[in-house]
Amino acid sequence: MREYDVVVIGGGPAGMAAAIAACDGGAKTLILERDVRLGGILNQCIHQGFGLHYFKEEMTGPEYADRFRKEVEKRDIDVMLEAMALAIGEDRTVTALSPEYGLVKAKAGAIVLAMGCRERTAGAIALPGTRPAGIYTAGMAQKLCNIDGYLVGKEVVILGSGDIGLIMARRMTTEGAKVKLVLELMPYSSGLKRNIVQCLDDYGIPIKYSHTITRVVGSPRIEGLYYAPVGTDRKPILDNEQFVSCDALLLSVGLIPENDLINGSGVEMSPVTNGAAVDENRMTTLDGVFSCGNVLHVHDLVDNVSQEALIAGSAAARYAKGELKSGECVNVAAKDGVRYALPQRINRGEGKVRLFFRVDNVYKGVRLVVESGSKTLSNRKFQMLAPGEMGSVDIERSDIDGDIVVRLEK
């Protein structure tokens, strides 16, 4: 049995930042990473756009990862690569398998969950039609292209306008493929605006909003697909079905926080984020178990992941030393157009807390109101809020006067 103050599960952007903060907080720290190196999905995100907020300079994913990797290497942090965490025991013992160390049992003073997300697949969205070769999640196609050097198709259709799908539209085009069409079920994109402009518009790639796939055809390889506009009920209008030929279909239809390690453990989960419900320290309802990054809620910007992981890692170190006091908590609820707000509970006390939120539709000229008991903690006007862009607002903990509600006001 190995013993650590803090065990971090996952060595992507969240795990690396959490481990750095834990180590700087005086904790003996271990990172368990299932890949052959640290960095997570950043390693395959070779495009620009990372680090503008955190490092105040724009860089690519692998470069952003490298900055943090070097910070990890500078410190006395144990890293186990190709190590798959299998279970978390009730006494916070983490069981993992690694080719180098065999069956590993590590007893942790505190655990930080930083496992990230996996992508929703053809099965997860019940994609109609045959199940031929040539259907990939956008992130899988990205890894095959950018890490392994394989282009998965020459005539491509993309379903969903999530950021990875948009980024891959540009990548596949740059590498010589023809991206014929992007289909989005919703009337708006779930990706960042800059990606619509610089990945689709720059290359003349058409996007059809309120459209979806009605049938995939081809066997053993995809030969094309039928698609149709959808009504307000988001059901396809089959009379208006059209056909497009393709030899690859990429799916960018959402991410699922990879919480298998804690599902069924009795930990309180948020049905909206599919991550744990946490307090401002990012502690879950399991004592000493913290969560951060995309396994907690899906972020648009890695810079926010790093910030959140620093909070979780530093709190985990304090917990392991017995210095983290949990007091009386108030609940944070979202309503009237706000899909969720995080953290879901806040300990009463002093100091600022940043609330992150997402809205359920595109809103222009609205106010985001944060109320606590009889007090208004924040009332800010936003010119525009969209589901694809996470917002944040700061509140003072000393102003808290009861349960908190985050809502939109016209």
Binding site: N43, T60, E63, A65, T174, K193, D202, Q383, M384
Partner: protein, 116 residues
């Protein structure tokens, strides 16, 4: 020309036209949008990110160290496609490229072994 402003989530639809010597931006709701519209109209630039071949197989990722004129992006990609670099390449290594009047450095951003 018409484009969408990317300076903030508003995503204003911009219309940019040249009236005499003046470049006029309409549809924007702030000053940043006007500046963006003018830049996109007069000299749109993009940072190129792509892959570079490694000796003996495999790829490393790379980028231009500064944005290049948008209309030269495909030239830069085609040129990088002709290159092969040694397997000992590291993040931050640079290669200089001269392409018909365009001078740019190509920076290695990731290798299959970085972090191992």
């Amino acid at each position: 020309m018409n484009t969408i402003c990317i300076m903030c989530p508003m995503g204003c639809g911009l219309k940019i036209e040249k009236v005499g010597e003046e470049i006029r931006v309409s549809g924007n709701t702030c000053k940043r949008g006007e500046a963006y519209g003018k830049a996109e109209f007069t000299h749109p630039v993009r940072t190129v990110t792509t892959l570079i071949k490694l000796e003996g197989g495999g790829v490393a990722s790379c980028k231009t160290d500064a944005p290049v004129p948008k209309e030269r992006v495909s030239d830069v990609v085609a040129y990088i496609g002709t290159l092969t670099i040694g397997r000992d390449a590291k993040i931050g290594d640079r290669l200089h490229a001269s392409l018909d009047g365009l001078e740019t450095d190509i920076v290695i951003t990731g290798t299959p072994t970085s972090g191992c």
